[in-house]
């Protein structure tokens, strides 16, 4: 084998030339670099999408800030906080209501006003509802009850007791007079 031919192609070597010609088909042919003929189709839309994404991000951030400020405002206004007031099942449908209830006013028992549930200022909104129904605050019979101070309760019970006894004695007489008493 002529090594001179192998490395610098000087002289000749029949065997190498034969192999060379056999592998000619696989020879590397240097061609011109590929010319970019067109810009990718989505390349123009990218800045628009980016702008839209930025807007959405800004809107989401703004909404988040608004919600945070609202919650902060409510917490400042009603310091005793947020109460989950009801998670009810009504006829197979669930309704979740969140209520913000103001702090109980701490007044002397003597002058504490009589307040019904209806008079308690209450901000309510339905957070989620599968089958929304009108919310009536006094649907519960307890809602009709009155919040009383100890003194008011005592006075009321004493009066009711006195009236009840008086009424029952008068009824006893009425029954006697009418002959309906056995």
């Amino acid at each position: 084998m002529n090594e001179e031919y192998l490395w610098s192609k000087n002289g000749g070597d029949a065997e190498i030339e034969r192999i060379e010609s056999a592998l000619k088909a696989f020879r590397h042919v240097e061609s011109a670099p590929p010319i970019v003929s067109a810009v990718p189709a989505n390349a123009a839309a990218q800045p628009k999408a980016r702008a839209r994404f930025t807007w959405r991000l800004a809107l989401a951030f703004g909404a988040g800030v608004a919600v945070f400020v609202s919650v902060l405002g409510l917490l400042v206004q009603y310091p005793e906080g947020i109460a989950l007031t009801a998670l009810r099942s009504a006829g197979g449908s669930f309704e979740i209501r969140y209520g913000f209830e103001p702090a109980e006013e701490k007044k002397p028992e003597q002058s504490a006003p009589v307040r019904t549930h209806a008079t308690v200022p209450r901000l309510r909104f339905a957070a989620a509802s599968v089958a929304r129904r009108p919310t009536v605050s006094n649907r519960n019979p307890e809602a009709a009850s009155v919040k009383l101070t100890a003194e008011e309760r005592e006075a009321y019970e004493q009066l009711m007791l006195a009236l009840s006894i008086t009424g029952s004695k008068l009824k006893l007489v009425q029954d006697k007079v009418n002959g309906s008493d056995d």
């Binding site: 019904t116 009709a144 008011e152 006075a155 006195a162 009236l163 009840s164 006894i165 008086t166 029952s168």
Partner: protein, 187 residues
């Protein structure tokens, strides 16, 4: 001289009015000793600020019967109740009640109901007092073999409405009549 007459007249007017108001009030002191002897005692004295407070609550209760009761006692000035239930018969002295009844013989009182029944030795008296056209007092005296009840109402009250509401009002349940229907204990 003229002003002196005016002052005297005003004084007389106030005195006579207060006498009228006090006339309807019965003295229950004679019954006080029964507190230790009775099996059950109910004692209610409600007047003045306490009554005003109770009336105010009654007007605010969102209930039809409470509204009626409120209407029935609109002019009420006081209500005093004594109920004594005894375990056995003859545990009180009938003369104690006679003393109460004698107070009701005073001018102004008029007996409107008088029931006497041999069953349980029952005696029921109802007295009313009127100032002009307005009722100024009611007294109910009930005595039975094993119980005494005296009710003294000062001021106008709608009796019919009260009877109608009997048993309907939302009050602590105390069955006053129960002992009357209890079978007598076997000796």
């Amino acid at each position: 001289m003229k002003s002196l007459k005016l002052i005297l007249f005003t004084l007389f007017l106030f005195t006579s009015l207060s006498v009228h108001a006090q006339n309807a009030r019965l003295n229950f002191e004679r019954l006080n000793y029964l507190e230790t002897k009775a099996n059950e005692v109910v004692e209610v004295n409600i007047e003045g600020k306490m009554l005003d407070l109770a009336k105010r609550v009654l007007t605010k209760v969102n209930d039809a019967d409470a509204k009626k009761a409120s209407e029935a006692i609109k002019g009420l000035e006081g209500i005093y109740v004594r109920v004594y239930n005894f375990e056995k018969e003859n545990e009180y002295n009938p003369s104690d009640l006679d003393e109460i009844r004698s107070q009701l013989q005073a001018p102004g009182w008029e007996k409107v109901v008088n029931v006497r029944s041999k069953k349980d030795n029952q005696k029921i008296d109802i007295f009313t007092m009127f100032t002009g056209e307005t009722m100024s007092g009611v007294a109910v005296v009930v005595s039975e073999a094993k119980s005494i009840a005296v009710v003294n109402v000062i001021g106008p009250i709608d009796i019919d409405l009260l009877v109608e509401l009997s048993g309907k009002m939302n009050i602590p349940r105390i069955d006053i009549e129960k002992t009357e229907k209890d079978p007598k204990p076997k000796n």
